[in-house]
Amino acid sequence: MTTTDVLAKPAAPRPRSARVLDWLTTTDHKKIGIMYIVNSLVFFAFAGTLAMLLRTQLMQPGNNVLSPQSFNEAFTIHGTVMIFLVILPLLSGFGNYFVPLQIGALDMAFPRVNAASFWLLPIGGLTIVAGYLTKGGAAAAGWTNYVPLSLQGGTGEDLWILGLLIVGTSSLLGAINFIVTVLRLRAPGMSMTRVPIFTWATVTTSILIVLAVPSLTAGLVMLLTDHHLGTVFFDPSHGGSIANYLNTFWFFGHPEVYMLIMGAWGVVSEIIPVFSGKPLYGYRIVILALMLIMALSFTVWGHHMYTTGIVDDSFFSVTTELISVPTGLLVLAWLFTLWKGKLRFEPPMLFALGMIAMFVIGGIDGVWMASPAADFAVHDTYFVVSHIHYVLLGGSLFGIFAGLYYWFPKMTGRLLDRKLGIWQFWLLIVSFNVTFFPMHFLGLMGMPRRVATYPVSSGWGMLNLIETISAYVIALSMLVGLANIIITLRRPRTAPADPWGGNSLEWATMSPPPAHNFDMLPEIRSERPVRDLRIALSAAKAAGSGPPGAPAAPGAPGELAAGSEGAAGPEAGQ
């Protein structure tokens, strides 16, 4: 039995009730991170089921699986839950677990605030979903919740607003915590230009949350007061305006899109270098690109309102085209990292590559629609539905799956099954494209989004049927992933400290890490401290000066890649 095994198990088995209480009251960022992820996966299953219902309803023209009212409720709750309770908190979960590890800290800056941010999430989420239990049903005005439609809603609508206020508070507290943690708790030597890209992405995401979420909060407060206290913010007959809602919502709503994707970019920027055996191409340019995107994302909200006539379309068109420049830099950085690398097609790498490909498709759709002329044609059609799913499912969720496969061994001490992972990837990427690519065509043919059914004469039946069948394959791929997690969790903890040959500090501690994270930190002289350590170790070994019987360097599979790089790494110039 090695020392790792001793530490991995508690000294004496504790009663189950004590362990449960431990989780309920913990302030350990790692346990909170896992709770974030588990909570999000539960909501993911729920919102995914709603998506299956929506697709079943749309399977053939004139279908009657869902009434128009339940269809409206289903797409509203599906969108809201996926955005606010699945993608963002999954990235926060990874952030919680790995940001302190990546910067060599013991915990987040405010551990108790961290626990509060987590516990607000299920409370807010259940508040939103509880709309289903009310007489009028759940909120049904879409995730954008436009007035005046949303002002006609009943209790479900109010629960939606209250739930989002709670979830927004959770995000805000979490974001402040992340920023302070990274600013204040970095290990010696960990300058901001050595911080891993995932941590950087968490910081830029958090800045977006701090500066954008309050705008949503203001919009929600006005919705509540207009609905219940008789204010007239959105009532044109009394000097109010619908534009007041559109502006406050989208001033939040567009940065929101970047909150959902930046973390996934961060995950991919961690994985691509590790599985290419090369440093990230243009590490500093990637940071610059993240910051540019963060800043520019506050200037593009009007592109959601081209057709309303209340914004300057040409201004927002230019800023929107502009934001594709730093985004393009990111994609180029990943491609140049892959170029001539020793690629290892493990599941995390597959999902990361899938993310890049899918995100580029979704991104090009976005550049396309940045042109007001094109947008007028496809506004509120399935073209837009295709775009958001390419960005949020093909982009964010593929990135999140990449992260799940990459970090699962660190979080649980167990490697997810490789074969099942590869199966899940191929099932998902094929079915994802078969489901969502034809939506481009449906959009161009004029099929409107958010409408419960369509006539036979429209000729949209065949594509919709194909999409629905394929959507069930997406669900199947998710079940494969779930099975993989369940099977793996029943296996013994055999994952080494560094199974992939990683670069960042989370790989310099045990899998899973002890409660205090690090017994000792390696010296940090570049943005890849663990790789530096590995090279130093193999050099010492080659020189024969290693201590007799010293354990092998962490990450045996990575050693080859690291060794083959030679000394001409980018650090030489720093």
């Binding site: 020392t3 790792t4 001793v6 530490l7 800290a105 013991l106 800056a109 405010f110 805000l172 402040i176 915590n177 920023i179 302070v180 943690t181 600013l183 204040r184 708790l185 701090v210 954008a212 309050p214 705008s215 203001a218 919009g219 006005m222 007061t225 008789g230 204010t231 007239v232 913010f233 009394h238 000097g239 305006s241 534009a243 007041n244 502006n247 406050t248 001033f251 400290a497 310099a508 501690t509 045990m510 002890p514 205090h516 994270n517 690090f518 017994d519 000792m520 930190l521 390696p522 350590l533 130093a536 170790l537 010492a540 290693g546 201590p547 010293a550 354990p551 092998a552 360097a553 962490p554």
Partner: protein
């Protein structure tokens, strides 16, 4: 201990040096956290003030015809009290920054708290004499919602100051001064907000 042992060995317990660093740095984290929180609060109010600006720009007469603006007596006294409380809290922070603990910190904080309470009471009492209702128009809606949120922030600030006063009088702040700093930053925000709201909603409503 060699580097490989660092990674693979399981010597239990964290490095004491790491623990020390965490303790020292998380102390100043409260101040950074408060700065970020206040930034976010600023955006929250900016959203309402933005709507105010847009509504203002959309009409020729402001406030819209037929509205008598609120009385200026109580709000003017209130904003002066608020400014004074800001100065008082500033003095508390200056004393707290001294290398040796100064007992006057508690007194100055308590004086600032009193100012906060007086301002809050004046604001609340002022509602009785407002000559318009919430639903008559966009100016009225903005007036009630913005000042209502301001009042909520004054109550929150007073609660925060009360906690700091309690901690100061127990002598705890002799060891840590960042609670005073964090509370002061929040209170400066409330003071600044009060002045902006006074200028826009009260002075701006004079014809």
């Amino acid at each position: 201990m060699t580097a490989s042992e660092q990674v693979a060995s399981g010597a239990a317990g964290p490095d004491p040096e790491l623990l020390d660093r965490q303790a020292v740095r998380s102390a100043s984290g409260a101040v950074t956290g408060m700065v970020l929180f206040v930034a976010s609060e600023g955006v929250f109010f900016a959203a309402f003030l933005g709507i105010y600006a847009v509504s203002y720009a959309a009409v020729r007469v402001w406030p819209p015809a037929g509205i008598t603006g609120p009385s200026l007596v109580l709000p003017t006294i209130g904003v002066l009290v608020l400014l004074a409380s800001g100065g008082v809290i500033g003095q508390a922070m200056r004393l707290a920054r001294r290398p040796e603990y100064h007992r006057g910190v508690t007194l100055w904080l308590a004086a600032g708290l009193a100012g906060a309470v007086i301002f809050g009471v004046l604001l609340a009492v002022g509602y009785a004499s407002i000559p318009f209702g919430v639903g008559q128009g966009i100016y009225e809606s903005l007036f009630y919602v913005i000042t209502g949120l301001e009042l909520a922030h004054v109550v929150g600030g007073a609660a925060l100051l009360a906690v700091v006063v309690a901690r100061a009088s127990s002598g705890e702040l002799a060891l840590r001064r960042d609670p005073v700093q964090a509370a002061a930053i929040y209170w400066y925000f409330v003071v600044g907000l009060g002045v902006v709201i006074y200028a826009i909603l009260y002075l701006g409503a004079i014809r």
